[in-house]
Amino acid sequence: MDLDMGSYGAYVWPAWGISAVVLGWLVVDALGRARRWRREVERLEQERGR
């Protein structure tokens, strides 16, 4: 494993860093939406049942 990027570190690490941040955000955002609307449907269905 080679983690010494030499003088190219200033380009390699930001490229990997921003990729990790954006992909991580996509995961968090998608799961957040899924949870939000699942709960909302559950709440509305319970209200209707009452």
């Binding site: 490229a15 990729s19 998608a30 939406r33 609307w37 699942r38 909302e40």
Partner: protein
Amino acid sequence: MITALANPQRFMSFTRPLAPALGIGAAVLFAVGLWLSFAAPEDYQQGDTVRIMFVHVPAAWMGLFAYLALGVSAFFGLVFRHALADAAARAAAPLGAAFTALALITGSLWGRPMWGAWWAWDARLTSVLILLLFYLGYMALNAAIDDEQKAARASGVLALVGLVNLPIVKFSVDWWNTLHQPASVLRADGPSMSADLLAPLLVMGAAYKLLFLALWIVRIRAEVRRRRAGSLAAAAAGRA
């Protein structure tokens, strides 16, 4: 299969185990790909900057693939007036926009040390920028119209127009004399890259693909539930 899955309820039960399975597969491939990417030898010309390729090229592939998913979904939505197809189109757009933006940013970070420029108005770079603008235009138009059906129709037409750009992106490096290098993986005579560098690229490519599919499914499911919540709320308002 497509007609069976067009039923939202069947789609929901079919995709329930699918999203986590794809997500786990993506995580495993990311772990392997990460290791391979930094275990690979330096390129004899590009040095360590070749490691940017392992996040740049998969992002660009997914930027194109997500647009294909968006365009095909928009087509089904326009032709068959199917709500699930509209949901699939809406769910694909932000993912594709994010992948395309990543391809542009990581490409820029590679271009600076290798070309000596962050950006060049070359046919490949410009057509990918246009791809990003189609994504943003689709999302803006879809969000700007209140009536969801009208929004889906108007933005769907825009999505179909943008499909024309996909072959332009893919073949721009052949049709024009570009600064961007020509294809080195998906080419008629096979990959022209050394196996040491091809392996991490393909593993990362598969990881990005599975991640996109997992996130697409999660977002379509959220979209189906959002619509269900909308109709439940409307029904409740009608009763009150």
